[in-house]
Symmetry: C2
Subunit: 451 residues, 2 copies
């Protein structure tokens, strides 16, 4: 039996992030302001540091990773890649299945790959405070840890219903020294207005974003930090795919298909973009984004300019959207409940360079449990989407006899999501249909943008 | 900067377990039955498989690890050893601190190092069902995973108060296919009697053991499995220390002191015994067991024959004990709330070959938070005891200027213990004094054994 784990040395942690823009057939479309014109860097500098804005707009293929960031990466990177021998055996498939385990990071997911450089570049420009929002808590945890590493105060606005339902994610953030508040709070205008209208407002991601952005915009010492969607976030995540390519090279293999879950898009981008570089150079590889069938922005959304948040405070971005005020059903994969997605991922999907598949909730947990029983690791509900899509392909290979090489990016572990597994075992989960009517209504409220 | 992580290849997973009995100055004292005579193997075969009993009584130095066990070990072993550069810096100590991270296992602790071979050897003798008890849930999780790997049904009697307070450990066991019941149940005589006396009985570890043993003893197809204390359990854990020695060799270093938390003793044994082999050969190394000051069996107990469980159903073992019916204060390190300890560890302590230190609860969480903020990883409350003892030594080195090499065995992560961290941050933890009066009373009820 060959090794189960394909391990790299710390010297093999990538020295540069890979910028997919350099290999896109068309340049990315810019974000637009309320006036329909591209947003100026000056407007963005109120809440983002210069170096991150430069990355956001760069067309350079390789962007160096600062040494202090690589030093923090060493705490968990390179992450191991596993050959899923036991899962293959359980499925009886001739396909080879590999997965890369981003859940080995202290915060439990890939999100720290970007929280660390975000904290670093903010520190470099003299920022000592960051605000952010978090829903389920993966992102809030990751930026809390990164802030602690660079001596930056972190204030997290956590959606109140999650704050109450997931107290242990909150504890985790506090262990790393962050302040965590249940949003809406009485500390911002946005929060006070929401509370005035309804003192029992349970909060929403859109509202928490409004609170975090409002505070960052109103204080010179404070910036705002976002955990997905934006170009620089996708960029930072490419350490995943770059390492994966080195790991495949070590075992003289190469994936026919790459599977990653896709909400805001940074996890998919991180795994897939470095392989897309090979594809641009003529290599055969299929890149599959797995999204929830209840919130299928890639497979059912329209490709249009829309706001990034529910309330329409952010710039407009060209993306596959279900409408910025569409409220997705309450599935147990909070990280994938997003009406839109990364403009880079959406443009590549629009241009046919990547694929997408929508998978229903119960089948994702079924796949997660099958994975856990074979491989040990209990995956995050988000990651179960990629596992489901991969298992479906492995079962197709069983029918056809194809010996494909399949690769899953396992974005995180499910240690803080066991309540969701409980509901699965209790038969209490719902397979929400694609809410076509609600989306149709929401799409009527897309912002008007001159063609 | 040298590598943070010292990594071994899968070919470096130990091929044998190390049996410390071969290097002990005196042979271990046997367990005694109710008649005061050594327990016969025949009596033990009712609930344990032959190969494990052979290991329990073996004096061979090296016992081969079966290949199917090593194959499962590959899912997480070898575990990484970290140089704690950031913690050293935070402490300002000239000491070098290393830690081995057993929390990377799917179940989150070192316990799987023994649950896997226990499941394997039971399977080998045709056993397809195992019963066990669990308190906090680390052991129950580990045997559930191992049972799943070898196609063995696992039934876990989980102390009712933990079953209700730690629902996510229960979910984890169910994810791996185990049946979990809140003990006391109405399925055993022991449980029915307890419920008849008090329908609201919250359960105890002693009672859960009684239920698990009763079921195993009454069914031919079912054996019982224990997660600590016994010789064969300590034996299996020696993969930790063996790997650690290889890792130190890779960086041309060797520990002056080894720190591990100690409850039943298997985690300490796993880390320390392989170093004790070097000590027996003349090498200088101090081996420190860190126990809670509220349940200080090594530092305050008497060295005597006592029962392993509260009710006195098990054989008597020679160990440092606080009295088998002593009820330790409810500290947040469930794995360390045990009145006695491993007979091997206790004999070595009695003979002066190892040391022990008792640390108070609040200081252990303080150490855990300091560790988490420097290194990222949030440690289990049990592991925080070893961290506390090591940090205290590192601070002594700061005073003295000594450049000692210190080694912590990090037994597990704290992802399922965040409620305890919450109580620490809320200032709701108590530093229970050593309950001298309660121990004095309990020690009056030690069983009488002819000298």
């Amino acid at each position: 039996m060959s090794d189960v784990k394909i391990i790299l040395n710390e010297s093999e942690i990538p020295t540069h992030w890979y910028n997919v823009v350099a290999d896109m057939p068309n340049p990315p479309l810019p974000p637009l302001g309320g006036d329909g014109k591209p947003v100026s860097p000056e407007q963005m500098l109120a809440i983002f540091p210069g170096p991150l804005l430069e990355q956001e707009m760069s067309a350079e293929r390789w962007i160096p990773i600062p040494e202090p960031v690589r030093e923090i990466y060493r705490l968990w990177r390179p992450t191991p890649m596993f050959r899923a021998y036991r899962l293959e055996q359980a499925l009886g498939t001739p396909a080879k299945i590999y997965y890369k385990h981003e859940g080995v990071s202290p915060a439990g997911s890939h999100k720290v790959n970007t929280s660390v450089p975000q904290a670093y570049f903010n520190k470099m420009v003299g920022i000592n405070r960051l605000t952010t929002e978090t829903g389920a808590g993966q992102w809030g945890s990751s930026i809390s840890l990164a802030g602690q590493m660079f001596g930056i105060e972190v204030r997290v606005y956590m959606v109140k219903v999650s704050y109450n339902q997931k107290p242990f994610r909150r504890s985790m953030m506090q262990t790393w020294g962050a302040e965590v508040f249940a949003s809406p709070t009485d500390m911002t205008n946005a929060g006070r207005e929401a509370l005035a209208a309804d003192p029992n407002n349970p909060g929403s991601l859109g509202l928490a974003i409004s609170e975090a952005v409002e505070e960052a915009a109103s204080r010179k010492d404070t910036n705002y930090s976002l955990g997905s969607v934006l170009n620089h976030v996708c960029l930072h995540q490419t350490v995943i795919g770059q390492e994966a390519k080195k790991q495949f090279a070590k075992v003289n293999d190469y994936p026919d298909m790459v599977f990653a879950c896709c909400g805001g898009g940074s996890n998919f981008a991180g795994a897939a973009f470095p392989f897309l570089a090979d594809k641009a150079a003529g290599k055969q590889v299929r890149l599959v984004a797995a999204e929830p069938s209840s919130c299928p922005s890639l497979t059912k959304g329209v490709y249009a300019y829309d706001f990034g948040d529910t309330s329409g405070y952010t710039p407009m971005m060209k993306m596959h959207t279900l409408g910025h005020d569409f409220m997705p059903p309450s599935i147990h994969a909070g990280g994938l409940r997003y009406h839109g997605g990364s403009p880079l991922v959406c443009q590549l999907y629009h241009e046919g360079l990547i694929e997408a598949v929508a998978v229903p909730q119960i089948a994702t947990f079924e796949a997660g449990v099958q994975f856990a029983r074979a491989e040990g690791i209990i995956p995050a509900p988000e990651s179960c989407h990629a596992i489901r899509a991969c298992i479906d392909e492995a079962l197709r290979c069983k029918q056809s006899g194809e010996k494909k090489t399949l690769f899953i990016n396992l974005s995180g572990h499910g240690h803080f999501d066991m309540a969701s597994y409980d509901k699965y075992f209790a038969g209490e989960l719902t397979d929400y249909d694609y809410p076509a009517e609600a989306v149709k209504e929401a799409l009527k409220r897309l912002p008007k943008v001159a063609a």
